[in-house]
């Protein structure tokens, strides 16, 4: 036994959580919405997801190989980014949209800054913002779930709400996800289910999604003259659920402090409603989150937790 003992410093035991197990939990939480997207949008949805995930993982591996870094695709974080980007695309996009989007998300949204944990904006949203700016037509061509062809453009509930269209989908459809919209954002109930799983597994805290959704709900309620139906469309009809639960909670681009998370959630909620109500766009979730991502270091600076023993002597 001589000289063969490990003399590392304490602690000598570690939790069983790993980066991979955390990312796996996020993927598990996204599975219900993934199944719904295939159910509503068919085989094409699967193709978009496969291309997006494949491109994300491939880009990550290629960059790490080229820069002679440890290849970390096994941590599944690139899979999460690829899946989230796919969830933020209309099903009708041409095949190269998810491929380019994911490559940009990983390369410019993540690896340029040093990889996992160092990106200051959500990579999937960075990829999506790039796509919307570059190919606005392809990125806003919505298909009605179950439609046999995807050549007929449909409007999302939020767009109809904005133009006061009489063809507004019934609320039950909105809740279940039988509405035009991005692949994975449509089924509010399944996204909430995934969120509950993540909170239960302590992967995310309630703070960001809770305050984000509540803020949108309250502002929508007030601006709709206390009409709960109008509020429900704002809360469940667009990208709020996927944004609040899965995008705004991205570890590296949101605050680590408990109070900071609350400010982040409220800020994103206010911005989302400002965009939805006062801009030409019907949707505002992704830009709100990106804006709050940039504000995160500042938020963290002013929301440090109180250090034990600094509350004044109480005796």
């Amino acid at each position: 036994m001589e000289n063969k003992m490990i003399a590392s410093s304490s602690p000598h035991i570690r939790s069983t959580d790993t980066t991979t197990s955390v990312m796996l939990d996020v993927l598990i939480a996204l599975i219900p919405a993934l199944i719904a997207s295939m159910y509503y949008f068919g085989f094409k949805a699967m193709l978009v997801v496969a291309l997006s995930v494949g491109s994300a993982v491939g880009t990550e591996a290629a960059i790490q190989k080229l820069t002679k870094k440890r290849v970390t695709i096994n941590d599944l974080s690139a899979v999460v980014t690829g899946l989230l980007l796919a969830f933020n695309l209309p099903v009708s996009v041409p095949w190269w949209i998810p491929v380019i989007g994911s490559a940009v998300a990983i390369a410019i949204g993540k690896q340029v800054f040093g990889g996992l944990g160092n990106n200051f904006i959500n990579p999937a949203l960075a990829g999506r913002a790039f796509l919307v700016a570059s190919w606005p037509v392809e990125m806003t061509f919505w298909t009605t779930p179950g439609a046999l062809t995807d050549t007929i453009a449909a409007a999302t509930p939020l767009a109809m709400l904005k133009t006061s269209s009489p063809a507004l989908s019934p609320l039950s459809d909105v809740f279940l996800g039988r509405i035009p919209g991005c692949l994975g954002e449509t089924s509010a109930i399944l996204l909430l289910l995934g969120g509950a799983y993540l909170i239960y597994k302590k992967v995310i805290s309630w703070r960001i999604p809770g305050t984000y959704i509540a803020t949108v709900a309250i502002i929508a309620l007030i601006t709709n003259g206390f009409d709960f139906t109008g509020m429900a469309y704002h809360v469940f009809g667009g990208g709020l659920m996927i944004g609040a639960i899965f995008m705004a909670t991205d570890y590296s681009s949101s605050p680590v402090t408990p109070k900071g998370k609350i400010i982040f959630g409220i800020g994103a909620g206010v911005l989302t409603m400002l965009i939805r109500l006062y801009s030409s766009s019907a949707e505002g979730v992704s830009y709100s989150i990106l804006f709050m991502n940039v504000a995160t270091p500042l938020i963290e600076k002013y929301t440090a937790p109180r250090v034990f023993g600094t509350g004044g002597v109480k005796k």
């Binding site: 590392s8 304490s10 570690r14 939790s15 790993t18 996992l116 570890y251 034990f308």
Partner: protein, 441 residues
């Protein structure tokens, strides 16, 4: 069940791993052929040897005298002959001048060892003198001389004595067994401490995962109106001094301050038992209860071990190694110190000897911080370990200090929860050392 009880904010729930030894009664380990007694087993000034090579010594005889106030004398744990005085490796990691005694097997007790009288017959200063003279130090691991803790400056008004029976370190069961098997000694020692400090309120805090100890201590304290036994939540680091004081009193030891600043003095279970023995028998610290456990020892046990017995002898008495010992730890898995060799002696602060096999000892590879904030959520000191660690690794110790690195209690909870297996507490320790070194300049 384990969620019921007093507690603090933050903390973690590591697996207990106490099943191997919690139901095993304390056994006396045999007297070894040789003991190695280091002249420093505490925080503070080293002792001067009172014996020289060739001298005969008896059990309880003082063989090392403390020179400073913050220090504690050393006593012979066996009878026999001093064969050498030389620097030897100790569990603290450094080589320390040690008295090496070959035992004669007689265990002749020194004449100085005799009962010191009842608590009523002793004045607070008498008790304090006995404690100092008996070489009593914190037996929980840190090893701070007990008489120093019992000498608060006049202006500090101490109103509560808290006895730490949390034993929140996984694997360890020595305090648990002591409470089950010698509750009267725990109470006697507690009363002695209360008398020294002139305090009318004593609280014994025990984690909820030791219901039998809570019951035993409650029963033993039935007729002690000034002593209360309370249940603490099973959560690490419940036995940390600041966490324990907060759990019991809701008082926060101020940042950079000491328990006495909020009127509290905390003593470990093993320490009050040592105080009881020093008064009732007159025996100084010559032995202690040690939990020997882990995945690579044949028969895990709770043993009463003579100070100075080598880890190797103790482990041999437990049937030896069951497989290759990949890691040998003095203390528990959260804060204990990994050893290079089993040729180190049991000292006053050795609460456990943990022997891990290859699988358990594996150090996971660190990956990028993903900013999951788990370390922020659980830090009992309200720090942001990820940020302090980041600055420390960059060598930016001033920034680390600005993020309150000095408030870290080094409990290791952050490293435990980190999914990226980052060396959080390690790097914070480095920052603290650098900051201290700079302050001294």
């Amino acid at each position: 069940m384990s969620k019921v009880g007093l507690t603090f904010k933050g903390g973690i729930h590591p697996p207990h791993f106490k099943g191997q030894t919690e139901h095993k009664a304390i056994e006396a380990a045999p007297v070894p052929k040789v003991v190695v007694i280091p002249l420093v087993q505490h925080i503070g000034a080293p002792c001067e040897a009172l014996v020289s090579k060739g001298d005969q010594v008896k059990v309880g005889q003082k063989i090392g005298e403390s020179k400073g106030f913050v220090s504690a004398p050393i006593h012979a744990s066996v009878s026999g002959k001093v064969v050498k005085i030389e620097a030897r490796p100790t569990p603290s990691g450094s080589r320390i001048n040690s008295i090496i005694i070959e035992t004669d097997g007689e265990q002749t007790i020194d004449e100085s060892v005799k009962p010191r009288g009842s608590l009523d017959s002793l004045s607070p200063n008498d008790i304090k003198a006995i404690i100092k003279d008996s070489g009593i130090t914190g037996m929980g691991g840190a090893g701070f001389p007990t008489h120093v803790k019992l000498s608060p400056p006049q202006e500090k008004n101490i109103d509560i004595v808290i006895i730490n029976g949390a034993e929140c370190e996984p694997y360890l069961t020595s305090d648990h067994r002591i409470m089950l098997e010698m509750p009267e000694k725990v109470l006697f020692g507690t009363k002695a401490v209360m008398k020294v400090l002139g305090v009318k309120k004593g609280i014994i805090g025990i984690e909820a995962n030791k219901p039998d100890a809570i019951e035993t201590m409650k029963k033993a304290a039935e007729n002690e109106p000034e002593i209360e036994v309370v249940q603490l939540q099973t959560k690490y680091p419940q036995g940390g001094e600041k966490s324990l004081i907060y759990a019991v009193t809701k008082r926060e030891v101020p940042s950079g301050g000491l328990p006495m600043d909020v009127g509290a003095v905390v003593q470990n279970i093993g320490t009050v038992v040592a105080i009881s023995d020093a008064i009732q028998i007159g025996m100084p610290v010559v032995e202690r209860v040690v939990t020997i456990t882990g995945s690579a020892v044949k028969e895990p046990k709770n043993l009463m071990v003579k100070i100075g017995t080598s880890f190797r002898d103790v482990i041999e008495y437990c049937g030896g190694y069951s497989e290759h010992p990949a890691k040998l730890i003095n203390g528990g898995p959260m804060m204990g110190i990994a050893q290079y060799s089993d040729d180190v002696p049991v000292i006053k602060g050795t609460s456990g000897i943990l022997i891990l096999n290859e699988d358990d000892a594996k150090t996971p590879e660190a990956s990028n911080c993903i900013r999951c904030a788990k370390c922020v959520d659980i830090c009992p000191s309200g720090l942001q370990p990820l940020t302090i660690s980041k600055f420390s690794l960059l060598g930016k110790f001033e920034e680390a200090e600005a993020f309150n690195a000095m408030d870290c209690i080094e409990c290791g909870s952050c490293s435990f929860v980190c999914p990226s297996k980052r060396p959080l507490v390690d790097s914070i320790r480095i920052a603290k050392k650098e900051i201290l070194a700079k302050r001294k300049k």
